[in-house]
Amino acid sequence: MPDTSTGVVVIGGGSTGAGVLRDLTLRGIDAILVEKGDLASGTTGRSHGLLHSGGRYCVNDLAAAIECVEEGRILRRIARTTVEDTGGYFVSVSEEDEAWEPRFVEGCQKAGITCERISVEEARRREPALSTRVRTVFWVPEDGHLDPFYLVVGNVESARRRGAQIRTYTEAIGFTRTGNRISGVLTRDAMTGEETSIGCQAVVNATGAWSGFVARLLDVEVKVVPVKGVMVVLSRRLAHAAINRCHKPGDGDIVVPGLSVAILGTTAVKVPHPEVLPIEWDEVQLLIDEGAKMLDGVTTARAMRAYAGVRPLYDLGAEAEGREMSRNFAVIDHEERDGVAGFTSIVGGKVTTYRLMAERVADLVARRLGVTNPCTTAEVPLNDREDEMDQLRHRPAQLGVPKPHGDELALQPLLCECELVRPQDVEGWMKDPAVRTLEDIRRRTRSGMGPCQAAICSYRLAGRMVTDRGVDGQTATRAMADFLETRWRGVRHVFWGSQLRQAQVTAGLHLELFNADRQLQEYFPPPLGEGQGGGVPAEAVEAVSQP
């Protein structure tokens, strides 16, 4: 007998898995989501956050562009508070770019993307930081910024209210079958090691770049090529709108404004494993050099950190049957393709089209389960309960959440001064059993994402681990150190100018004023025979690598 039972187990807590969970739940299907890390801790949370108008795909991949147009409009309806309507510009800075322009304009027309050529003078009036190298400018109003974490939480909470369960830090490690049909999933808690079995009628593998690993547990092959993308975060937005290079999509050709920062994106390098994401200096340099061709100030702005994400590029080559296909993503029906009934994978795709991907896979799963209720995710808003988003998380300055008067806001205590996070914004999350690490708190509140990279708030959050969660000193100190180490891994790659000065303050505070290196040595002594010590144990460092 399994420990618990449900209709469908969705594996993967990124945007796709969260979307599938909600879609199934809205159709009245009982479901549990399991995720081996935190929600949005893989590809979704490490995207650059562009809500695609479709402009970047309209020449080379018209089908994908059309999907982006439609889904962008749907998201603005159903997930209003996760989208910032920044608009975007496509700018030419070279002759080659200018040669691309007619194809771009034609692609926009075919895909139905609103696109307007404006004078460089007008563009510079709107975006004073545009580089003098810019020759031509197209305004694309439907580019936007999508808050990927907020999107995932919105989907998951909506599903939870309808009875779905969410289990984070829960890895799928095996399956049970009855004949050729899946009848359950065996999971393991990533921190306690506790194993749990979940009985079910169907499983959706929504693990993106990790799909192959999950499929292999069933001796089924899913070919996903993990492609690393590096991004650099600047401490200021530099522009109101997203700035795209008007050329064949390539490396370093986009600057996405997100809340208070700008993100330079991105590179594309095949990697052997989705968790092997080294940040190379030539990638960081390329992003800064290429970004500077479009926007002044990229080279002089304070770079706060670099981070790497992984795209799940689906290898379409050998897949001819058993799937509904788009140019953009694929639903693999393993019952038809491999004879494993009840198992479906969804691969490829992008955050902008997560809802459509979820709809396609839920259509198949529902049909197999004999459920005829149609998909309603394009109509039912995420925040279908009053003030839901307010309760989820407060981002008073950015997301149009009702906020107190200016002077009242200024007088409120802040837990993270850099990102204007208030103590009450973390209180609920501290008590949420799904939240295990301070990185999880960061994803939910933005605490620690500003210029000081958690130098101050890490102490306050460690304190709350003790006061609000009742953990011991060792656990709280470890959580603080892990949080700082994760931030440090991003800061190291942009280690010049202000961030170098910041690092001396951070080190001075934690190693000198707090003597934290010795506290760590005491809790986690170095192995015998090793002179060095004081760092966080290697396995803790490897366990997380987040933006």
Binding site: R460, G463, G473, A481, A507, L513
Partner: protein, 422 residues
């Protein structure tokens, strides 16, 4: 302007060097390049907490440790400065602190072991009297005391760590929290606001009463965040001990650090009151060298250019915090002589993979000779009348061994001696 000796810096190194010159009857000008590191990095004077960056056992006798360090590492900044500079400089500082109205305690012969805001025992040497009662060589139970709504000292966290680490968990440690009269916990207040409030007798007595009721253990020591007065700390601390009926000790907090503020503000005011000229917020960007000597340095002061012509120059910079170096992605240069102090293929090379290990960037600085003169590759001084102290010296890394204050004093004092002789 013309000057006798120009001291550039804004941390303890620059203050000690300036005071040394002043006491010797010279006429120093103090040039602040930027924000003082005292706000961030200092609370007490750590002379030598550990024999090495990786040793676990705190040193009982810092002066013995320094002697051994000098014997084993002839290139260490302590070795170049000499033990005498540490001893004489410490005496000069303690005397100065007394004259400026501070009550500091400690000797180079012995480290105190003081709990941090994280609850870690930390060896420290010369400390404000208001910190002394925290010494973990003493046996009385400790009660960490925090305030409702105050985020920068978490008594429960400090207690959780110290109860584990203090003599193997054999001592009594606990935490209490009280609300503050007239302070709403849902309103923004900082350590500085609290420090001002604690100077008010009625406020302080009310807090003391609340603490007396909250603390059950007789004879326990109370560990409070360092907010006992912004300027009149001596009186506030003594009064508060009487009012609570317990020994009380202050614990440094995250910036803004009240302990650092007190020290910095009073010492610089004392220098001004005793006639030292200062140039504020004036980062240097060039030095003119002629005939082997530095003729003048150029500053960007208050929106205009200013040059200072001195007989000798003492560069007492605190690494990067006060803007000592110009660090690009590959090259770190000094702002005076535009020397390439370090070159890296990638910025990440400046760091260790872990924040909690010694960092290569910390050691960037001028190579110096035994007179603390910055030298070229061939060993010749860049300019015979220029001397370096503090974080400006190559290989200067006080973080892991917990020696920031002592190294500042020793090198600042020694460089001042050399500058006077130049």
């Amino acid at each position: 302007m013309k000057a006798d000796i120009a001291v550039v810096g804004s941390g303890l190194t620059a203050l000690v060097a300036t005071r040394t010159l002043q006491k010797a009857g010279r006429n120093p000008v103090l040039i602040w390049p930027g924000l003082s590191s005292l706000y961030f990095l200092y609370a007490s004077v750590d002379v030598l907490g550990y024999a090495s960056a990786s040793s676990v056992q705190p040193l009982e006798e810092p002066v013995t440790g320094v002697r051994q360090l000098i014997a084993e590492n002839p290139d260490h900044p302590y070795a170049r400065a000499g033990l005498a500079a540490l001893e004489d400089g410490s005496n000069l500082l303690l005397e100065w602190l007394r004259e400026a109205g501070f009550n500091w305690q400690g000797t180079l012969a012995r480290n105190l072991l003081l709990p941090t805001a994280l609850g870690t025992p930390k060896p420290s040497c010369l400390v404000p009297a208001s910190m002394v009662a925290g010494d973990l060589h003493r046996d009385e139970p400790i009660v960490f005391c925090g305030f409702e709504g105050y985020q920068d000292f978490i008594p429960e966290l400090a207690a959780a760590n110290l109860s584990h680490g203090w003599n193997g968990g054999s001592r009594t440690v606990s935490a209490v929290r009280v609300s503050l009269p007239g302070v709403k916990p849902d309103r923004l207040f900082t350590s500085i606001d609290l420090a001002r409030n604690f100077e008010d007798g009625a406020f302080r007595r009310e807090v003391a009463g609340r603490l007396r009721r909250a603390v059950k253990e007789d004879g326990a020591r109370l560990g409070l965040p360092a907010v006992l007065g912004l300027t009149h700390d001596n009186d506030v601390h003594a009064e508060f001990e009487k009012e609570t009926g317990h020994p009380v000790f202050e614990i440094p907090t995250v910036p803004p650090s009240v302990l650092g503020l007190r020290l910095f503000d009073r010492l610089r005011r004392h220098l001004q009151e005793t006639g030292v000229e200062m140039i504020w917020a004036a980062p240097a960007h060039d030095a003119e060298v002629a005939n082997g000597r530095c003729a003048r340095i150029h500053l960007k002061a208050a929106g205009r250019e200013q040059s200072v012509e001195a007989r000798a120059y003492l560069l007492a910079l605190e690494d990067v915090v006060d803007g000592a170096w110009r660090a690009g992605p590959h090259t770190v240069r000094d702002p005076f002589f535009h020397q390439v102090l370090a070159q890296h293929a990638t910025p990440a090379e400046r760091t260790d993979e872990s924040l909690f290990q010694p960092q290569p960037f910390a050691t960037i600085g001028y190579p110096v000779n035994d007179r603390l003169q910055p030298i070229e590759k061939d060993g010749h001084p860049l300019a015979t009348n220029v001397f370096v102290a503090g974080g400006g010296i190559a290989g200067y890394d006080p973080t892991g061994i917990k020696a920031r204050g002592g190294m500042a004093i020793a090198t600042g004092y020694r460089a001042a001696q050399e500058a006077m002789a130049a």
